[in-house]
Structure formats: C-alpha cells, structure tokens
Subunit: 149 residues, 10 copies
C-alpha cells in the first residue's frame, strides 16, 4: 500500500468515526496538530502508534500499518499559494510580515534559520472578555546557524 493511499484510508475512517482529532491524539499521546498531520499524510508514525490509530478507527491491517510508518512525501500540495481562505492566511502572514520576522530573527540569533524539521507547532484558543476569541498558532523550531567552511 502506498503512503498516500494509507493516509486517505485513515482520513476517511476518521470522518466516519465521528471522533475528534483531540480524542484521537490522546490515545497516542501526541499533540492534536501532529495527529492531524498523520491523518493528512504529513508525518510518519511508529509501528505502535499506527496500530493504536488503526485499531481505534477499526481499519487495522498489516499493510496499512506498515505504510503509515514509511516516510511520506510531505508537502503533498504543489508548491503554490492555496486558495482556501484559512490556508491562505498562513501564507499571507509571511507575505506581509516575513521580512520583518526575518530582520528580527537575525537580530536576535545571527545568520541562520528557524528549522521547520526540528520543529513543532500548536493551536490554542485564547478567550477574550468580549467573547471574540482569538486563535494563537505557535511555531517553534531549533535555530540553525549557517555553517561556515
């Protein structure tokens, strides 16, 4: 079974299960964002995690479990700006504030980058007094200085 077919099968079972991602995430002791990454085929799991997930969603099978452990082709969408408005905002932010973020990161850390691999991200709901709650997304990655040789 190909890695992308495994993710599709997992996602369909997830929709049918009426579970939330948060409930699924608890079962494997991971963050909901990372767990949703499994459903969308963006991250690979250990064998034990794959077994737990497929059992929970009642689609356990050996080829499926094996496929979920393989390194996926991450970034399944073409390298393009997406038109879905929620996804688009994640690209609009660096289009507007990217140079500012880069300037501040270089000032705080020197010449290098925030890793997108040794990296994690989180979503929180921030309640405000006037009822207009806010979304907080945290990106956190290792700082990697440019090697000089």
């Amino acid at each position: 079974m190909r890695r992308e077919d495994a993710a599709d099968r997992l996602f369909d079972a997830f929709v049918a299960s009426e579970l939330t991602v948060a409930e699924l995430a608890e079962g494997i002791d991971h963050d909901p964002v990372w767990t949703a990454g499994v459903l969308h085929g963006a991250v690979s799991t250990t064998r034990a995690e794959a077994e737990t997930l497929t059992e929970r969603l009642e689609i356990g099978s050996d080829p499926l479990v094996r496929a979920l452990c393989r390194a996926p082709e991450k970034g399944q969408r073409p390298l393009e700006i997406p038109s879905d408005p929620m996804l688009y905002r994640l690209f609009e932010i660096p289009a507007v504030y990217g140079d500012a973020l880069k300037t501040v990161i270089h000032e705080k850390f020197g010449d290098g980058i925030m890793s997108a691999i040794d990296f994690e991200c989180h979503v929180e709901r921030i309640e405000t007094e006037d009822g207009a709650d806010r979304v907080r997304i945290t990106y956190e990655g290792a700082f990697l200085p440019y090697r000089r040789w």
Copy 2:
C-alpha cells in the same frame, strides 16, 4: 513621496544608524516585529510615530512623515514562494502542516479563519539547556466565523 520610497529611505537610514530594531521599537512603544514592518514598508504609522522614527534616524522631513502614514501596498513581494531559506521555512511550514492546522482550528472554533489583519506576531528566543536555542514565532489573530446570510 511614494510609500515604497519612504520605506526604502527609512531602511537605509536604519542600516546606517547601527541601531537595533529593538532599540528603535522602544522609542515608539511597539513590538520589534511591528517596528521592523515599518522599516520594510508593511505597516503604516501615526504621525507622531513617523516623527519619532525619522528624528531618531535623523532623516525627518514632512513629505517623508506624511508618506509613512499612508496605507502601504502590503505584501510587496509578488505572491510567490521566496527562495531565501529563512523566508522559505515560513512557507514550508504551512505546506507541510497547513491541512493539520486547518483541521484543528475547525475543530476548536468551527468554520472560519484566523484573521491576518486583526493579528499580531512575535519572535522569542527560547533558551535550552544544551545551548541549542530555539526560535518561537507566535501568530495570534481574531477568529472570524464565516457569515451566513
């Protein structure tokens, strides 16, 4: 004076001044990322802020001050994935984790988006014990539910 020329003049004066963005930001009581946004032409200022900044950088002039107060063309780069590695990582993250983030946001908030306008972002340096410090970028925006009519 055009808005983009005003930003260019400000940025050149900033480089020549050898000030840090953090020092500049203190003077106008804003976050360094927002202040760097002024330098890169991404945000507009009040008249008082423009005067403070241009005086600090010793380039004060009335047309420059007026130009900094105009709404800029934000997103000055074309709507493309950039090749600079630090900027690229800000696009790679939603390319890999975007669907996962969207799924979790919908689960926590319902059908809608995180605003990129009623929005702020921050950069922090997270120190770790083994010396490999981490970059934390926080995106925080109002949740906007889709209007139904």
Copy 3:
C-alpha cells in the same frame, strides 16, 4: 464521505431536480447566492439545513448530511484567473479598478481591509427602461483595521 464528494452529489441532484436555486434557498431561509455556495461546496451548513436540502433533493443520507456540515476546502479552484468569461469578469474588475477601490476604501476607513469572511454578497436584476437590464452584485463585509502591537 468527503466534503467535495458531498457537494458533487448535491449538485447533480440539483440539476436533475429542475428546481431553481431560488426555490431551494427559500426552503432553508437563505440568500440564493449562499445556497448556490452550498451546491458548489463553498460553504458549510447546519445539520438542519443539510437535512432539509437533501430531503428536498431526495438524496438524504446520514453520511451526506454529516459531510455537508464539515468546513469545506473553500476556493476549490486553483488560485488562478479563470477562463470562463463570466467568472473572468469578476477578476477583470479588480484588475482594472482594484487600485482605485483600495484608495477610496483607505480614504473612507483608514488602513485595513474589507473582510471576505464576515461577508455577504447578493445578485440583483436591475430593470432599465430600454430593456437592457443590468446585473448588480453587492459585496459587503466588515471593515477590519490593521492591529498595531
């Protein structure tokens, strides 16, 4: 059932039904544009609305109803200018008058945007005396000022 398959099934049933969008819209007490948005997979419904629509089109089923309530991938077309002439005109207008509209909005409201989320749009037929009727499309969205931090 995936969200996009649900929309396809709904649309096919709509074409077969020989109902108009306006008739369908009345049954759920929404505007025809919003209702057509359901048929094209652009908006999500409540459970009650999904049930009414699927019953009216005689395709009611529990998985279909559940799928229609999920947040869809909006903007299903790639982020490209379309070649269909009617759709193209909706892109040609901001290509020609976009800068003018932006300048006037900034003059009336300050630095910010018209929301496309807290937003509604309508189509009207304006009758004229010489028989050459006119199409009026109204876009109306909340003004969101840029946050400063």
Copy 4:
C-alpha cells in the same frame, strides 16, 4: 508623454496636494472610485476633465492633458493574484463565491455575462450600531447575452 507617465505624475501631485479623492471627484462631477481610477491610470478623461484636474493639482501642461485623454493600458498589473491583503480580498471573493454567483446570474438572466465595460462600481461605508462599520462595494454592469449566429 506616455499615458502611464501621465498617471504617475498625476498621482504624485495628488499625494503632495493633501486633497482627498472625494474632494477631487467633486470638481469633475464623478464618483470617487472613477476619479481614483484616473489617478491610477485606469480610465481616460475628456479634455475638460483633464484640464480641471491638472489645474486643481497645479501641474497643468498641454502634453499631460493630451496624455490623460488617451485610452490607457488598463489592468496595469500583470494578470496575477496580488499579495496586498485588501486587493487580495477582491480576488478571494470570486475564488470562493464565483461559481455561486455565476449560477445565480445564469438563473436570473440566462447565458451571458455582466459587462465589466458598461460597468460602474461604488464604495459605501455602512454604519452599524455596534460601531463595527461595514464596507459595501457595488458592481453594476449591463447584462450581455451571448450572441447566437
């Protein structure tokens, strides 16, 4: 003088004048959006209008007046989705609701399009009770049925 240079000169004089577009529009008895279109090089004027505008902005000259009367290259930006957030929203709306609008227009009018030439557009500020004012943009164009031959 080339048409695009004429628009640039007009726009620079407008910024320097500290007039509003609305004030400028009154002097030539046109809508502010159309008048902003002159400033951005999107529309052509009569000789009388060009003279009024250039006198008001104190840059009157015969070659400038003649250039403003020439048909411009409209749509001065390349046929691309822009990254400026306000302009982007004008493209996001048809990306999300375009199919719905097309379906409703065809239902109301038959096979044809809304003209973007025999067309006008307006911006209004809609005040709401809770202080969160709304932007209303109206597109209105002749319906053109497809010719059959």
Copy 5:
C-alpha cells in the same frame, strides 16, 4: 448530467456519425463555427436545437437535452497559451499585432472594447489563382465604450 459530459457525449456521437459540422449546422440553421462550439461545449442551445442535434446524432435523451441548454463553463481550457500549432496561431496573432489592433480600434471608436459576448466569428476559404488558398477568420463584436460615472 453535467454540461461537460453532455458535450463529450455529443462530440463522440458526432465523430462516429461521419457527418460534417457543416451538415449538422444546416439542420439547426446556424453557422458551422457556432455549431462546432456546441460540440466542444462552448455554447448553450435552445431546447429545440438540442433535440434536433441529439436526434440527428441518434443519442437523444431528456437529461442530455436539458444539459445542452444549461450555460456551460466556457473557456474549458485553463487560461494558458496552447501548444497545438493551429490554436497557437490564434494567440500568436494578438501577441504580435495586439498593440497595433488596439491602437487602431481606439482611433476608430474611442476608449472601449470589442465585445467577445455580443460577438460572432466565421471561417471562410479564400481561393487564390496560384492554388494556395487562404483562411479568413472574421471576428465581429459590438463596440462597448467604457462607462463613466
């Protein structure tokens, strides 16, 4: 039945029939170009025309007839220059002579466009004495002056 499936079915029946487009066109009293437009899914028909065509091609069915009457998604190809040499020439001509045509049209008509909706086009074979016949394509559309408001 979707509009594009209806066109595909019509086109396949046309190829199988060994009729010419000219023969088909006569039966519905339209130009061959317009009639070929029906086969390629570019134009919509009346109910009577759809019935005549489907009967002539021996594929008459009620859903097919209804689908042919719906407004199609015109411009079915993406908005790209095609690589087929005959189609390419139709794009090469305005790439080379477009500015010249625009200049002459503006000189003859003022600021506006030739409509591509209130429009018809024809193909003729022009015989020459030396046997090297020529293709003549005529584009004819209403002149639409830009509205001023």
Copy 6:
C-alpha cells in the same frame, strides 16, 4: 540603435505629432494596422518607408532609419495573457471558440494551419441602424498543410 529603442522613439514622436495612424499609413501606402505595428515595434520597414515615416514625424536620423529596417523581436510582451481588457478579448475569443474554429478549419482545409506570417489583419467599423456600431477584425493567412516526409 537597438530595434526596440527605435520603436519607442517613433511612438513618442507619433503621440507628440497629433497625427492619426490612418494619416501616417497613407503616407507609406499601407494598412493602418500594419502601420501601427511599425509604431509598436512589431514589423520591419524598407529603407524608403523608414525615411518617409521619420521625416513625417520630424525625427529622421540615419541610425534610426537603419534600426527600423532590422527584423524586430516580435511579440514584445511575454507569452502571457494580458490584463488590458481590449487585448484580453483577443485571447478570450480563442479560449472560448478556439476548438470550434480549429474543427471548422480542418473540415474546410484538412490537416494544417492558418499562417500567422503570410498573414494580414484589418479593422473595420460596421455601422448598424440602432447606432451601436460593431468592430470587425479580419485575420487572413495562407493555409499551410502539414508536410509529410
């Protein structure tokens, strides 16, 4: 002098001269479209024509005349769909009717193309009784059958 600089100089002199293209065309005994092609740098002239044109526009010089006789880089715009509405219509027409035109041309001529080189095009103003005049553009080129070898 480069070929494109020669065209720019010619065009600027043409605008300054307040001559029409039609008047200019008479002087060299060519069609206005072809003559406008000279102004836009799309076609090359004979030495005699270049001399007549530059004298008429009062910019005659030997390097300019020589440059106008060189084969230009035709198709000076990048191979993209233009956003100017008049130019766009010339691309929208083959986007909608291109397949139909190709089918009819193949039926009338066999497998081959209409040449865009051994080619001419014309613009006419067609007066109609109701005052809504029409633009007629004629493309006429040699039919070139595909060589078989």
Copy 7:
C-alpha cells in the same frame, strides 16, 4: 474513438509488437521520425497508411482507422519546458543558441521565419573514428517572409 485514444492504442500495440520504428516506417514509405509521430499522436495519416499500420500491428478496426486520419491535437504536452533530459536538450539548444540562430537566419533570408508546418526533420547517426558517435538532427522548413499589407 477520440484521436488521442487512437494514438495510445497504436503505441501500446507497437510496444507489444517488438517491431522497430524503422521497420514500421518502411511499410508506409515514410521517415522513421514522421512514423514515430504517428505513434505519439502528432501527425495524421491517409486512410491507406492507417490501414497498413493497424494491420501490421494487428489492431485494425474501422473506428481506429478513421480516428488516425483526423487532424490530431498536436503538441499534446502543455506548453512547458519538459524535465526529461533528452527532450530538455531540444529546448536548451534554442535557449542558448536561439538568438544566434535568429540573427543568422535574418541575415540569410530577411524578416520572416522557418516554417514548422511545411517542415520535416530527420535523425542520423554519425560515426566517428574514436567510437563516440554523434547524433545529427536536421530541421528543414520553408522560409516564410512576413507579409506586408
């Protein structure tokens, strides 16, 4: 049967037959490149040729024969630079030497082009003494001078 399906069926039969293109070409008295063009759906055949080819490959059928005689959509790939290295070289050569070839052709022939329609091409194997054989591809087309009108 659609033209592209006919080419696919022919190509599959060719691969299964273990014939060489050269052997196939002999049977219809054409060059191997032209004959390979038939297999790839780039050229149309006469009825006799289609019959010979389909009989030789043991897939003769009347609809297949008729489809092979229709003018194909040539240039089946999108108008893009291909990533296959052998195909890429055919695009790299004009990317590097295109301007040089154009300059020399204009010097030898005047303003015009080499036709790609009244055109043939050949592949030869040039043996060299040191065993490193060379590929020679010849493009030969009619010179078409630009028409002046």
Copy 8:
C-alpha cells in the same frame, strides 16, 4: 566589466558597423552561428578571438577583452517559451515532434541523450526550383549514454 555588459557593447558595435555576421565570422575562422553566439553573449572566446573581434568593431579595450573570455551565463532568457515567432518555432518543433525524435534516437543509440554542450549547429539556405527557398538547421551533438553505477 560584467560578461553581459561586454556582450551588449559588442552587439551595439556590431549593429553600428554594418558588417554582416558572416564577415565577422570569417575573421575569426568560426561558423556564423557560433559567432552570432558571441554577439548575444552565449559563448566565450579565446583572448585572440576577443582581440580580433573588438579591433574589427573598433571597441578594443582590455577589460572588454577579458570579459569576453569569461564563461558567460548562458541561456540569458528565463526558461520560458518565447513569444517571438521565429524563436517560438524552435520550441514548437520539439513540442510537436519531440516524442518522435526521442523514440527514434533511443532506437538508434540506446538510453542516453544528444549533448547540447559537445554540440554545434548550422544554418543553411536550401534553394528550390520554385523559388521558395528553405531553411535548414542542423543540430549535431555527441551521443552520451547514461552511466550505470
């Protein structure tokens, strides 16, 4: 002096000199296509060749000579299909016949490519009896088999 500026200076001097490429090529004992490649900045020369060319064109200078000897950025145009009709034909040919050429080359040589580096190309004028002369372009490059390791 940068390599691209050197080519520009050489080309301008060539145009001013009224020499033909063929005359220039004789002086350095190279093919006219290769020599035109020098003028367009596509190939590098020896010191002696650079001296001969710059003396012939009366622009000899040491920095210019040194720049002409540097390896240029070849393929100065972006990796795009050009819109100039003569250049376009060089891309249309592999778009139509590329698969056929690849199939024949593989049949004659096995898995590998024609080199575009160990490569030369020529232009000839082929006279025909009926006066319609033909352009012959020859591409000839080493066959490079794929290495296996």
Copy 9:
C-alpha cells in the same frame, strides 16, 4: 506495458517485499541510489537485471521485463520545485550556492559543464562523535567543455 506502469508495479512489489533497497541493489551489483532509480522509473536496466529484480520481487513476467529495459521518460515530475522538504533541500542548495559552484567549476575546468548523464551519485552516512550523523551526497560527472565550431 508502458514504462511508467512497469515502475509502479515494481515499486509496489518492493514495498510489499519488506526488502531494503540495499538488499535489492546487491542482487544486481549496483549502487543503492541507482537501484532506487529503477524503482522510481528513472533508469533503464539490462534484460538480465530486469529478470533478477522481478524474480526477487516475485512479479516476473515477460512484458514487465521488456518494459523495464526501455528508455524511460526521466524526470517524471514536472519541472518544478517540489514541496517535500527533503527533495526541496536538493533544490535550495543550488538556489543558494549555485552561482558559487559555477564560479569555482569554471575556475577549475574552464567553460563547460558537469554532465548529468555521464554521471553517478552516492549517499553516505558520516558518523560524528557527538552522535549527530551527517548525510553526504556525492555528485560526480564528466566535465564537458563547450564545443567551438
């Protein structure tokens, strides 16, 4: 059987076999990278190699073996930057260091290129003392000097 279907079948059998590429490579005495190239349809094999591989993976069949020996369409992905992070890094490196590599290669070898055909590449795991192992990828290709003619 088409070449790309053969690669798909091989790859699926490889995943099902739970063999490593390294084990597969040993059986045919090739490097693992080259062998993985067979699995991904990038390289062609000899008949003996195809037989060994298909027997090892228990899918041997004559058409499959024949297809694996055909020259594939290499570069199966479109000529685009990929969004998968591991693949992306292989494109980011020449985006950042490409000019530097080109300058050094020209200094060491003169005007020419590193062949990507007479070429091999390897992957090694470099162990370091602190446990953070490094990936070493070696590209090695023949230097091809530009031919002069």
Copy 10:
C-alpha cells in the same frame, strides 16, 4: 549600503583584480565555494574576513565592511529552474534522481532531511586516465530527524 550592493561591488572588484577565487579563499582560510558565495552575496562574513577581503581587493570602506557582515537575502534568484546549462544540471540531477536519493536517505537515516544550513559543499577535479576529467561535487549536511510532539 544594502547587502546586495555590497556583493555587487565585491564581485566587480574581484573580476578586475584577476585573482582566482582559490587565491582569495586562502587569505581568509575558507573553502573556495564558500568564498565564491561571499562574492555572489550568498553568505555573510565576520568583520575580520570582510576587512581582509576588501583590503585584498582594494575597495575597503567601513560601510562596505558592515554590509558584508549582515545576513544576506540568500537565494537571490527567483525560485525557478535556471536556463544556464551548468546551473540547470544542478536542478536536473534531483529532477531525475531525487526520488531515488530520498528513498536511500530514508532507508539509511529514517524520516528526516539533510540540512541545507548546517551544510557545506565542495568541488573537486578528479583526473582520469583517458584525460576526460570529472567534476565531483560533495553536499554534506547534518541529518535532521523530524521532531514528534
């Protein structure tokens, strides 16, 4: 002084100096590829290195030295495949062998990437007996496993 202007000034001085990159590299005790990266604006230097380089090239100035120490916008070219043949080969290799390299890296290291930041690359000339020397490029970067959270 902007970072990109500093690199341009350095590169021009390097070309004028007739030094080799290798000679320049020795003076700052870095690899020639890294040193060429400084010349092309891809890497930042320490103050001491900037002083050594600018003195060696006889263009030392304080603003230039400061600019060379700033983090540059790396990846100065747009994120596109380049048309220069030497640069193109660096993109063709991952287009052909990228999937194979990714499969082998995952097999040797697990799910993660080779860093392009904690990374170095080298160029060597490999002499062979038959005189056809080979280019060896080594990419070496830290392996970064995907973080799980």
